[in-house]
C-alpha cells in the first residue's frame, strides 16, 4: 500500500544532534523525545508536524551520533517516512531496525518542496510528487533488509530466529 503525506524539506547533512539534541537524551520515552524533534534546526517543527507527514532531505541525513533516539523521535512525532538523497549509515540501520521507512531518491528530493504531497511505494521503489505529477525511482532495499522490514523491525526478526532455534532444539 503506497503512503501519502505532506512534505517538510530540509538540507544536506542533517545531523542527529539537531534531530534530537543531547540535552533530551535523559529519557527513552518516544512521546517525550517527539516533543523536541528537529528542535535545533527548526524550533517550531514539533508543533507544526502532523501525523502522516514526510521529511525530505538532502545528502547524509542522520549523520553523527548513533543515538537511536533520533529515528524514534521522528517516528513518534508521526512522520511516516524520510526521503533523502543519501543517509548516514548508522541512522539508516536504526530507522530500518525500528520500522521507520527510509527512502533514497536523490532526484525526487531535488524537485520536491515543503508543502508538496508525496506518494511513496516502498515495495516497488517509486516516489511520486502529486503537485507536479512526476514519478521517480527510489533505491530498492536488498532482500536481507526487506526481511527485517517485513518482520516489523530487527527485534521481531531476531525473536523469530531465536524462537525457531528453541523450537528446533525442543524437537530434537
Amino acid at each position: 500500500m503506497p503512503m501519502r503525506g505532506r512534505v517538510w524539506k530540509f538540507g544536506d547533512n542533517i545531523d542527529t544532534d539537531v534531530i534530537i539534541p543531547a540535552r533530551y537524551l535523559v529519557t527513552i520515552d518516544p512521546q517525550e523525545l517527539a516533543q523536541h524533534v528537529m528542535e535545533d534546526i527548526d524550533p517550531e517543527f514539533a508543533a507544526k508536524v502532523r501525523p502522516g507527514d514526510i521529511i525530505v532531505a538532502g545528502r547524509n541525513f542522520g549523520c553523527g551520533s548513533s543515538r537511536e533516539h533520533a529515528p524514534i523521535a521522528i517516528k513518534a512525532a508521526g512522520v511516516q517516512a524520510v526521503v533523502a538523497e543519501s543517509f548516514a549509515r548508522i541512522f539508516f540501520r536504526n530507522a530500518i531496525n525500528i520500522g521507520l521507512p527510509v527512502v533514497e531518491a536523490p532526484e525526487a528530493v531535488r524537485e520536491t518542496e515543503t508543502g508538496d504531497e508525496l506518494e511513496i511505494d516502498t515495495e516497488n521503489g517509486i516516489v511520486r510528487n502529486l503537485r507536479t505529477g512526476k514519478t521517480y525511482k527510489a533505491t530498492q532495499y536488498d532482500e536481507f533488509i526487506q526481511h527485517i522490514i517485513r518482520a516489523g523491525g530487527l527485534l521481531n526478526a531476531v525473536r523469530e530466529r531465536i524462537e525457531a532455534r528453541k523450537a528446533a532444539e525442543a524437537g530434537q
Binding site: N13, D15, D17, V18, P21, A22, R23, L25, V26, T27, I28, E39, D40, I41, P43, R59, N60, C63, G64, S65, S66, R67, E68, H69, P71, S86, A88, R89, I90, R93, N94, N97, I98, D142, F144, G153, L154, L155, V158, R159, R161, I162, E163
Partner: protein, 417 residues
C-alpha cells in the same frame, strides 16, 4: 582482500567476502554507555532471552552524563548499572574508568583482528588497534547482546596514504581534520578508511586513535590501521590475551587510493558547523572565544594533556576565557597528576574536571550559552552540539586549543613565543 575484509571473512566463517555483500558475523566485543544502554536493555528484554551471550564480551561504560548531571540521568545510569551487575558483564564504574573509547584500549579489550560493535558512533576508534570496529544503534546492540552476532554489509575500503614529514604541532587531529576537509563529511560514506604510509608508520598510537575516532566524521563505517611494533608495544603493556592481526594483501582491491603529502600542513581548525569546514588556524583572524575544552574520546589521552600543558606552562588562560581540561580516564588523571600536568593547568587558570563526555555533546560541565564560541578538541561542531543552537564550536588539536585559551581567540601555537 583488505584487512577489513579479512576480519569480516574470518568472523563470518568464510574464506573471502566481497564489498557490498551482507554477511552475518560473530562479534568479539559489544559495548554501550549510559545514554544508549537503557534503550538496548529495554529491547533486549523483549527478546525472551535471559542472559547476554557472553558476559566477558559485553561492556557497559557510564561516561556521557556521569557523575549524574540530574535525576533523569541518574535513573538512566542506574538501569545500566543494575543490568550489568545482574548479567555479571564487564562494567566500569566512575572513579575506576572514564570515557569508553579511552578506557577499553587501556584495559587491553580492543585487540587486532576483533570485531567490535558499540552503541556509540565513535566505536570506530578501535580501528587504531587493527580491529574492525563500528558504531550501531541500541536495537542492533540489543540483538548482538542476545545472539553474539550481527549483520554487516562489507564496506568498500578507501586507502589513504600519508607521505612527507610531519611538521611541528601537526598531530593526528590535524591529519584527520585535513582528510575530512578534503573528502567531505560524507566522503567515505559506508566505507572503511585504511590509514597507511610512512607518516602513519611513525605516528604514535594516541594520534592513530584520534584519527580512527573521527573516521565517522567522514561518514565512514570504520577506520583501520595495520598492527605494527607500536601496536604490539601498547598491547604488551595492558594485556596477555592472544590476538591475530590482519594485513591487506598486496593485490587487495581499493575503491579509491588517496595520497596526501603532509610536509606543508599547518595546525588546523574546523569552523562551524561541519568537521569538514577546515582552515589553517593561523588564517582565522579576529575570532574571539569564550571557552576552551581539552579532552574527550578524541583528544583526552595523556599525550594530549602533555601537549596542552607544554603550551600552558608559565602562561595564563586569557581573562575572558574559561578553559576546561578533562582527562579521558582515571588512569590519564592519575598520570597527569604524577607528571605535574594538573598543577600546570591549575596554575594557568584552567579547571581540571572529572573524566566525562559531558561538554562534547552539550550534556554538562561546559554547556554553551547563546552566542558563545568554544575551541574544542572534541569531534563534532554541529549546530547546537555543545549547547544553545546559536553557539559555535571550533574543532582543533590540544596544541591549537591551548594556544587559543592563552590568546583568547582562535590561534596557532606558533603565535606564542
Amino acid at each position: 582482500m583488505t584487512m577489513a575484509e579479512k576480519i569480516l571473512a574470518r568472523a563470518a566463517g568464510r574464506r573471502r567476502v566481497e564489498p557490498g555483500e551482507i554477511v552475518e558475523v560473530a562479534v568479539d566485543l559489544v559495548m554501550t554507555n549510559d545514554i544508549t544502554a537503557p534503550l538496548s536493555i529495554a529491547e533486549f528484554k523483549k527478546l525472551g532471552v535471559e542472559r547476554v551471550f557472553d558476559p566477558k564480551k559485553v561492556v557497559f561504560v557510564p561516561d556521557h552524563f556521569v557523575p549524574a548531571k540530574d535525576i533523569k540521568a541518574a535513573e538512566q545510569s542506574k538501569i545500566m548499572r543494575e543490568f550489568a551487575l545482574e548479567q555479571n558483564a564487564i562494567y566500569f564504574e566512575i572513579g575506576r574508568a572514564g570515557i569508553e573509547h579511552v578506557v577499553l584500549p587501556e584495559h587491553g579489550l580492543t585487540r587486532p583482528g576483533m570485531v567490535i560493535i558499540g552503541a556509540d558512533s565513535h566505536t570506530c576508534t578501535y580501528g587504531a588497534f587493527n580491529a574492525f570496529a563500528t558504531g550501531m544503534g541500541s536495537t542492533d546492540i540489543a540483538a548482538a547482546m542476545a545472539t553474539g552476532t550481527t549483520w554487516m554489509r562489507v564496506p568498500p575500503t578507501m586507502k589513504f596514504v600519508y607521505t612527507g614529514t610531519l611538521p611541528p604541532f601537526v598531530t593526528g587531529k590535524d591529519l584527520i581534520l585535513y582528510t575530512i576537509g578534503q573528502i567531505g563529511v560524507d566522503g567515505a560514506l559506508y566505507a572503511c578508511m585504511e590509514f597507511t604510509g610512512p607518516v602513519i608508520d611513525d605516528l604514535p598510537m594516541d594520534d592513530r586513535i584520534t584519527m580512527a575516532n573521527m573516521a565517522i566524521e567522514a561518514g565512514a563505517k570504520t577506520g583501520i590501521f595495520a598492527c605494527d611494533e607500536k601496536t604490539r608495544q601498547w598491547l604488551a603493556n595492558v594485556t596477555t590475551e592472544p590476538y591475530e592481526p590482519v594485513d591487506s594483501d598486496p593485490d587487495a582491491h581499493y575503491a579509491q587510493v588517496i595520497e596526501f603529502d603532509v610536509s606543508t600542513l599547518r595546525p588546523l581548525v574546523a569552523l562551524p558547523h561541519l568537521p569538514s569546514n577546515v582552515r589553517p588556524a593561523d588564517e582565522v583572524r579576529d575570532l574571539p572565544i569564550d571557552q576552551v575544552v581539552i579532552g574527550s574520546c578524541t583528544n583526552g589521552r595523556l599525550s594530549d594533556l602533555r601537549i596542552a600543558a607544554e603550551i600552558l606552562k608559565g602562561r595564563q588562560v586569557h581573562p575572558h576565557v574559561r578553559c576546561i581540561v578533562i582527562p579521558g580516564s582515571q588512569e590519564v588523571a592519575k598520570q597527569a597528576t604524577k607528571e605535574g600536568l594538573v598543577d600546570i593547568f591549575l596554575e594557568a587558570g584552567a579547571v581540571f574536571s572529572v573524566s566525562t563526555c559531558g561538554p562534547c555533546l552539550g550534556g554538562y560541565m561546559g554547556v554553551l550559552a547563546k552566542g558563545e564560541r568554544c575551541v574544542s578538541t572534541t569531534n563534532r561542531n554541529f549546530r547546537g552540539r555543545m549547547g544553545h543552537r546559536e553557539s559555535e564550536v571550533i574543532l582543533a588539536s590540544p596544541a591549537v586549543a591551548a594556544a587559543s585559551a592563552v590568546l583568547g581567540r582562535v590561534a596557532s601555537p606558533f603565535e606564542l613565543n
